[in-house]
């Protein structure tokens, strides 16, 4: 008997005609996108293109006006509790509870995500070590620098080993050494089978860390394709073409 095993990794995230209005305008329009396990998708776009709105909807912090989100085939809008264990989210600017220490932060996040007892302690130590936060463990989150906050936010997102990692401008405020470490962390997560979607303004970040790139303009998906690590200029050309002549490009398409 021959068993056929599909080598294609499973689809973790599926967006189906996702739309959302914000502040009286279409922030996201009819967005279709899918993401496989172990894949890293870079989301590019100028300010106001709809990146953060898209990521907030995927993370479960914002409901779409219409369309669907499926997590491993399950309807996320019907079952928002799926976010609890399956999604790790680093929001833009990494908000923190200023009065809690780094360690307490991780405990609070862990409990919100269903961890407790020895599992929570082990997870906390793991991410403190991985993100080099051990020396800051007892420091109040309110006195951390923006880069340190960003690392704390990443630690919170990774704490419960999510299947889908949603990172909104994770390289913000990181120094070059930390930015390189972040790329390593993203690749490590992808190698472990986590699907990663990250928004950024840095094209170099995309070529260095992502397998695929999607470019949003005015709430619409204008480009979705693989990233050629050695062709930074091609990505730059595509991005600026869409950013400068987005509507024309769309009309031509």
């Amino acid at each position: 008997m021959t068993t056929i095993i599909s080598s294609s990794p499973p689809v973790v995230l599926q967006l189906d005609r996702l739309s959302r209005r914000r502040a009286g305008r279409h922030a996201v329009r009819s967005l279709d996108l899918s993401l496989h396990a172990g894949q890293v998708l870079g989301l590019l776009g100028v300010n106001g293109a709809g990146k953060s709105t898209t990521l907030s909807m995927i993370a479960g912090a914002l409901r779409p006006d219409s369309g669907g989100i499926r997590l491993r085939g399950e309807d996320f809008l019907e079952h928002p509790e799926l976010a609890r264990s399956r999604i790790g989210w680093l929001p833009e600017r990494a908000p923190v509870w200023a009065e809690l220490s780094v360690s307490e932060h991780l405990d609070a996040h862990g409990r919100l995500r269903g961890l407790n007892g020895s599992t929570l302690r082990a997870a906390r130590e793991r991410v403190l070590d991985r993100l080099d936060l051990q020396p800051l463990a007892r420091r109040l989150a309110g006195v951390l620098s923006q880069g340190q906050r960003q690392r704390l936010g990443l630690a919170c997102a990774l704490l419960h080993r999510p299947e889908l990692l949603v990172l909104d401008e994770p390289a913000n405020a990181l120094d070059p050494v930390q930015a390189v470490a972040l790329r390593g962390l993203i690749r490590e997560q992808a190698a472990a089978g986590t699907a990663v979607i990250l928004s950024t303004h840095l094209l170099a970040e995309v070529t260095a860390a992502c397998d695929r790139v999607a470019i949003l303009h005015d709430g619409c998906l204008r480009h979705d394709g693989p990233v050629q690590a050695d062709d930074h200029q091609a990505l730059e050309r595509t991005f600026f073409e869409i950013a400068m002549h987005g509507d024309a490009a769309a009309r031509a398409a």
């Binding site: 959302r20 914000r22 709105t53 907030s56 993370a59 479960g60 912090a61 914002l62 409901r63 928002p80 509790e81 799926l82 976010a83 609890r84 999604i87 989210w89 929001p91 600017r93 908000p95 923190v96 509870w97 200023a98 009065e99 809690l100 307490e104 609070a108 996040h109 409990r111 919100l112 995500r113 269903g114 407790n116």
Partner: protein
């Protein structure tokens, strides 16, 4: 423990921790307890001074009527200020800090977030009540306490704190700034207490306004009278306030 219940307790624990590490709750507790302790000694002094005259009365007021219940009455007055101040940041503060989406993204329904925050606030207030109650109880061995009356008054205070906490959480859910939430909660609580003052002055003791007023339901409890109708009023108000707060948070997740 189901995910929803665990989520509620996770939110409650987080809110409790935030309350414990902030100076506001401690300062308010210290100042009010010092004030109540001072008043306790004054009430006790008055009680001891009048003991000889009251001994002649066959059914005169005792320690519970003259010291314990008036002390709880003073706590009730302070709670109009303390509860809005303690509760103002529970949701409005999260919104201002940008941390509210972190709770939304934990996959918790809005009602669980509201309930968790409410339980933390209520826990703190009940501790405050217990510390106040410890003052008259410390003299229980040396005096003749009316346990039934004291229990009814304590229940009344606990319910009043529960209603004020629910109002504070609701105002915090609707307000964009914690200070606005505190002011709104204070005004609504005072209005709810005295909504029937006009009707009372006109000699009307029934009707909707009297039913609506918190004083109508609190004062019998402070006198030792427990009725199901009064308990139902408190429960109804708590449920309505928390449901409104949940609705508001749900809308926020919808609206963004």
């Amino acid at each position: 423990m189901s995910g929803g219940v665990a989520g509620t307790f996770a939110v409650a624990r987080l809110e409790w921790r935030r309350m414990v590490v902030r100076p506001l709750a401690w300062v308010l507790a210290a100042l009010t307890l010092a004030w109540l302790a001072w008043n306790f000694t004054l009430l006790l002094g008055g009680f001891l001074a009048g003991q000889v005259q009251r001994a002649a009365l066959p059914d005169g007021p005792g320690f519970t009527d003259l010291v314990a219940v008036p002390l709880l009455g003073q706590l009730a007055q302070l709670s109009f200020l303390v509860v809005p101040l303690l509760g103002m940041s529970v949701i409005a503060g999260e919104r201002r800090n940008g941390t509210l989406p972190l709770l939304f993204a934990a996959g918790l329904p809005a009602s669980r977030i509201v309930l968790g925050k409410y339980l933390a606030l209520l826990g703190w207030l009940l501790l405050w009540l217990a510390l106040t109650l410890a003052m008259p109880l410390a003299l229980a061995h040396a005096t003749d306490l009316d346990w039934g009356k004291l229990a009814a008054a304590t229940l009344g205070l606990a319910l009043m704190l529960a209603v004020l906490a629910a109002l504070a959480v609701t105002c915090s859910a609707f307000a964009s700034h914690p200070a606005i939430a505190a002011a709104a909660a204070l005004i609504i609580a005072l209005a709810l207490w005295s909504v029937n003052v006009g009707a009372q002055m006109a000699g009307i003791n029934g009707g909707v306004l009297n039913w609506l007023a918190m004083s109508t339901h609190e004062q019998p409890l402070l006198r030792g009278l427990v009725s199901t109708a009064d308990l139902a009023w408190f429960a109804l108000l708590i449920v309505v306030a928390l449901a409104l707060a949940s609705r508001r948070l749900d809308n926020e997740r919808e609206r963004g």
